[in-house]
Symmetry: C2
Subunit: 283 residues, 2 copies
């Protein structure tokens, strides 16, 4: 295999016309639209991220796109569970109390015995469900279409009133844009918790702020809209909210998993075998 | 069944001589030494707590003592996992950053792929091990004596260098008093995490503070020695430490579990069957 190091920005490197397999950098956005157009031999673009929405309009027509599904799933699902437990056991309040040298118990719930709705049944959603079940909560998964044991997106409005925790693990697409709107939030019961480790734009931030400021719902967000929130944005000081700066992926081990994925994909490509993680039309 | 409401303090109520089965209150300490002595028909004392060490010297000789094992185990194990994840994913630092309106990522590890040593193989330890395994970490359990798949307390010094996380889930006894001392801590590798949701006196606080202040180890403590720490105690501002105010037990559902335990124990007692959760000599 001949390797050309080029991130898709700037002028095309020597030998670009020979590129068959393009691996995108994880730590920067996609190259500008058109950067990969006209590479005559390009047959595959491999991302190292789970989310692919930024590649809409960049990916050359007719070239298949492959996601980094599995590279960050473990780490992202773990963060969802960490943030869920943090809110349910009031850990942010205890960190504030510690800073003030106060030993003061807060009224608190817990995860065990709760019902958790996991919206998204890919790698991340499946891992979230497995972990919350081990913590003795009941998990119900939601996929685009129902299958045995998995509800459909269309079932969600009817399910929400029965769940104390809702975790989002779906890609951001036109279909899921602001799916958590005022009506969705209104259907969640008092004191329920929304967890978003997926994409900020899944949630209508203004509608969420209304519920948080009324102290009716709780939220844990690793992703926000806008992201990051400007310094004066009301998210920073909203009550009932725990916030982390988009740190779901990129945990230790992701390099190794990314290398392994790319190696396996390149080997499949050379052998003429089907690649995994192909992003299907309409993602 | 005739029920007499008396918490063991103050003068004995009418009918005390008929008491066969004493249920201790959860929310106060044990009655004064001697309070239960000389109750002629007393045959069982049932606690609602997992820890029983405060009853040494209170329990009348010859009367069996039964713990509340199982009543709080779920909630305590869940808190151990919550605090473990909080430290490993740097959630306290993010809460501080949020308060300062800062969107700033911290170098961070995670639980997945780590090796976790769970010292204690009772209800709480078993639940901790189950949960961390579901979060894709490797758990090794330690009991007083080794059995297949479980190490012994004597093995711990040799095991410590290989574990990034050590969780304590043993009762406080003369044998376990300050078991986590300077030598124990020195055997833990750089950057390792100590989790204590059991009893503060299992840990030599001064020795732990040396490691924390050197920023060599991390700790999550739900219990401390002294507890609570006085307002000027160095634990409050120690680096690498996350602290909660002894909130492992008492989570929602504990009343129901306590009622169920006491009911089942009373039914066994009346039927002349063996009771569960007997605290054996030498606890």
């Amino acid at each position: 295999v001949r390797v050309i190091v080029w991130d898709g920005n700037g002028k095309r490197p020597t030998g670009a016309d020979e590129i068959e397999f393009f691996v995108a950098r994880y730590d920067i956005g996609p190259p500008p639209a058109g950067a990969l157009a006209g590479l005559p031999k390009l047959r595959a673009v491999q991302l190292l991220s789970a989310g692919v929405e930024h590649w809409v309009g960049v990916q050359p027509a007719g070239v298949p796109l492959f996601s980094g599904r599995g590279v960050h799933g473990q780490s992202t699902a773990e963060l969802a569970v960490a943030g869920m437990l943090a809110i349910l056991r009031r850990l942010p309040a205890y960190e504030q109390a510690r800073a003030a040298h106060r030993w003061q118990r807060e009224p608190s719930g817990g995860l065990a015995g709760q019902r958790v709705l996991v919206i998204g049944s890919g790698d991340i959603g499946t891992r979230i469900a497995t972990a919350v079940r081990a913590l003795e909560a009941e998990a119900t998964m939601v996929a685009r279409t129902a299958r045995p044991g998995v509800a459909s997106l269309g079932d969600v409005p009817g399910l929400l009133p029965d769940f104390q925790v809702v975790a989002l693990a779906v890609p951001h697409t036109p279909e899921t844009d602001k799916m958590v709107d005022a009506r969705f939030l209104a259907a969640m019961p008092d004191g329920a918790l929304l967890v978003n480790v997926a994409r900020g734009a899944l949630v209508d931030t203004d509608a969420l702020l209304v519920e948080l400021n009324a102290r009716r719902l709780y939220a844990y967000l690793d992703v926000t809209d806008p992201e990051p929130p400007p310094a004066n944005h009301p998210l920073w000081d909203a009550p009932n909210l725990f916030l982390t700066p988009h740190v779901g992926g990129g945990a230790p081990g992701w390099h190794e998993r990314a290398f392994a994925l790319v190696r396996d994909q390149v080997l499949r490509f050379r052998a003429g075998q089907p690649l995994i993680n192909e992003v299907v039309a309409g993602y």
